[in-house]
């Protein structure tokens, strides 16, 4: 088979289980809607209208997709090193704290440098928090799934503590004490994003919506991380550890260090999600004190999007937009047909279970490719007698 064709059929074969998982999840959602006595058609139509029905709806979908995409990119990186990063929620919070503290500390003194510096602080803060779980895994073989879950809860309390203390908006002190920081200076706000070509797309698309350039940063990050993973030595080492830890060790790769690095990069991406959320959308860090109060569950939804994007950063882009749309559309659906928006969390869970369950079929195919049955080459080779 020509190589190009083979890679195409490979890709199709790899995405087939994803499509099947999606269909199965949709079927499950429909059954659920029927069981709840809802008009299935009306529900889906409200969901779609709410997510993509107008430029404003589409902009809201993209706004929701931004943090999901950042987290998803990070999950992909960690997963390539066989490290499961469930800590997106916590890393996002710590990243937001890093970003907002930097923006508040420097204010307008840095001019145009405030934004890059605050974003970098968010990346590093989230990265260190993720790297901590990587270190615990490499040094003490602490299961990273459990450690990141604990770190998520710890991060929420660190945030609540800081927002009720030294980071509390001075104008709030003694008033309602709503846990939120002061507003960042205008210089530190990410610009809004509108797509327009004079005369052609006029007025510009997404004008006067909440969409910000965080979207472009996230897409750029997906491209950069794809390059890093598949075209650099760093990425090669990370993937080698993920593919076969023992072989990587024999090849002289410092396995523990790669795990820490992968978790640092992974946490950094989630940290950026938090920083971008602060600089681009809320202009301050605020929460209602609950675990999802700031993140809105993006840390978990990012895992779902990463899985659904085939665990590669580029695939995570459409997947994140899909899940962003699901979240925004569910609000409309709740208003229109009275189905609680919690349906989305349920369906996300179903999708995750279906997608991980379907991976066995992809892997079976890969194994068959790696170890072709011994009979095949002999049978296809010309028999010696035939020639003589």
């Amino acid at each position: 088979m020509p190589i190009a064709l083979r890679s195409l059929t490979d890709r199709l074969a790899q995405s087939a289980p994803l499509v099947l998982a999606l269909i199965a999840a949709l079927a499950a959602a429909s059954l659920l809607l029927l069981a709840l006595d809802a008009d299935v058609g009306a529900a889906y139509s409200a969901l779609f209208q709410g997510a993509f029905g107008s430029p404003n709806a589409a902009a809201e979908t993209l706004v929701k997709a931004i943090p999901i995409l950042f987290v998803a990119i990070g999950v992909c990186i960690a997963f390539r090193a066989s490290v499961v990063n469930i800590g997106g929620e916590g890393q996002m919070i710590i990243g937001a704290l890093g970003g907002v503290s930097t923006a508040l500390a420097f204010g307008a003194t840095l001019g145009g440098w405030t934004i890059p510096l605050a974003l970098a602080a968010g990346f590093v803060a989230g990265g260190i928090y993720g790297g901590l779980a990587g270190f615990l895994k490499a040094r003490f073989s602490v299961n990273e799934i459990l450690s990141t879950i604990m770190l998520n809860q710890i991060a929420v309390q660190i945030m609540n503590f800081l927002l009720n203390g030294i980071l509390l908006d001075p104008t709030e002190a003694g008033m309602n004490n709503i846990p939120k920081t002061a507003r960042i200076v205008e210089l530190a706000e990410l610009p809004r994003l509108a797509i327009g070509i004079p005369g052609l797309i006029d007025p510009p698309l997404f004008d006067r919506t909440r969409l910000h350039i965080g979207l472009l940063i996230a897409v750029a990050l997906a491209l950069v991380m794809t390059f890093v993973l598949w075209r650099t030595t760093i990425g090669y080492r990370i993937r080698a550890v993920g593919y076969n830890e023992r072989a990587a060790r024999y090849a002289g790769i410092a396995v523990g260090r790669q795990m820490i690095l992968a978790m640092f990069l992974s946490g950094g991406c989630a940290g950026l999600a938090g920083a971008v959320q602060v600089l681009g959308l809320q202009y301050r860090l605020q929460t209602d004190g609950s675990p999802g109060g700031f993140t809105g569950g993006a840390g978990f939804n990012g895992i779902v999007a990463a899985l659904f994007g085939g665990l590669n950063p580029i695939g995570a882009i459409p997947a994140s937009i899909f899940f962003g749309g699901l979240l925004v559309g569910a609000q409309t659906m709740q208003r229109a047909v009275g189905i609680p928006a919690a349906l989305v969390t349920t369906i996300n869970g179903v999708i995750v279970v279906f997608v991980v369950s379907s991976r066995i079929f992809v892997q079976a195919r890969q194994r068959a490719r790696a170890n072709p049955p011994p009979a095949a080459p002999i049978a296809s080779a010309p028999l010696p007698e035939a020639g003589s």
């Binding site: 602490v142 879950i149 710890i154 675990p291 895992i303 919690a342 989305v344 969390t345 869970g349």
Partner: protein, 308 residues
């Protein structure tokens, strides 16, 4: 000062608060001993909590509430088992899927069927005659004046010890978790053993949820467990995969919880955030120290491929 904090009622409430940890932790221990990490525990607990609560709210029948929780727990445990054992899915991620499902579904059902939190009568106290009268050191109040589920949870420890160490099935569980290939060669059905342990673990997680909603808090609300199930998973690591270890861990955590409630009740000024954070920090430290031991089931999280 200290006598205001360490009152008999604090110890009693620590014993009570240990119930959900005990049910969920002991159940999870069986799954992990056989080689399956069920990270969806919190989701199963939430569903058990809701179903138990709803059954109690609508029928007032506590036996039915317990049955509902056990049933939904068994069903979710079975699904998790099939996904992990037959389809060999990555256990950590499948668990997150189960968690999200339980989190969303329990809230969905609650909003659809109940709406606003309504208190139920739930399990009444069941003082044990004579023993609950012991005044010395408050022993009667601390140990013998609880609801039925508390006693059941603690009775589970000797039962688990017996099953695990003194029965053929317990031996199978341990063999399957330590060396599935050898167990398979001995004729043990690896997949079947794992499916049974994870399903039973799910049942107990459902009961753990009901012990929270029907016996302890007597109410249901969105995300009632707030991550308690994840702590229960870590407790098994903390307890080094042994029933007594899980018991000690559960008591330690519930004691920290009870202490935290008491301190805020008598107005001791430590930031609430640190109190809430404490169990998670302790768990993390425990995980670091637990890693040194060699008690961990060798085949934990590894699907078994029979090959050939």
């Amino acid at each position: 000062m200290i006598e205001n904090i360490l009152t008999a009622s604090v110890f009693a409430s620590a014993i009570r608060l240990a119930t959900p940890y005990m049910f969920a932790g002991i159940g999870e221990m069986f799954g992990q001993r056989s080689g399956v990490l069920n990270l969806g525990l919190d989701g199963i607990m939430l569903m058990g909590a809701f179903c138990g609560y709803y059954a109690a709210l609508t029928t007032g029948n506590l036996a039915l509430a317990v049955l509902a929780a056990l049933g939904v727990g068994a069903a979710m445990g079975l699904v998790m088992a099939l996904v992990c054992v037959i389809l060999k899915a990555e256990q950590g991620i499948a668990g997150i899927g189960m968690y999200l499902f339980g989190l969303g579904m329990s809230e969905l059902l609650f909003q659809q069927l109940v709406g606003t939190p309504r208190a139920i009568d739930g399990f009444p106290r069941l003082p044990i005659p004579i023993l609950s009268e012991i005044q010395f050191l408050g022993i009667g109040e601390i140990f013998f004046n609880h609801n039925l589920l508390v006693y059941v949870a603690f009775a589970l420890v000797p039962l688990a010890l017996f099953v695990l160490n003194r029965t053929p099935f317990g031996l199978m569980i341990r063999a399957v978790g330590q060396n599935p290939a050898a167990a398979d060669a001995m004729g043990i059905k690896v997949a079947r053993v794992r499916i049974i342990t994870v399903t039973v673990g799910g049942m107990l997680a459902g009961l753990a949820g009901a012990s929270l909603s029907v016996a302890l808090l007597k109410v249901f609300q969105q995300n009632l467990t707030s991550g308690l199930g994840f702590i229960a998973v870590a407790l098994v690591y903390f307890g080094r995969w042994r029933p007594i270890g899980v018991l000690i861990g559960a008591l330690l955590f519930s004691f920290v919880n009870a202490l935290q409630l008491q301190m805020s009740a008598i107005g001791i000024d430590i930031p609430a955030e640190f109190a809430v954070m404490a169990p998670y920090v302790i768990t993390l430290l425990a995980l670091i120290f637990a890693s040194k031991g060699t008690d961990k089931p060798t085949a934990l999280t590894k699907p078994f491929d029979r090959g050939g």
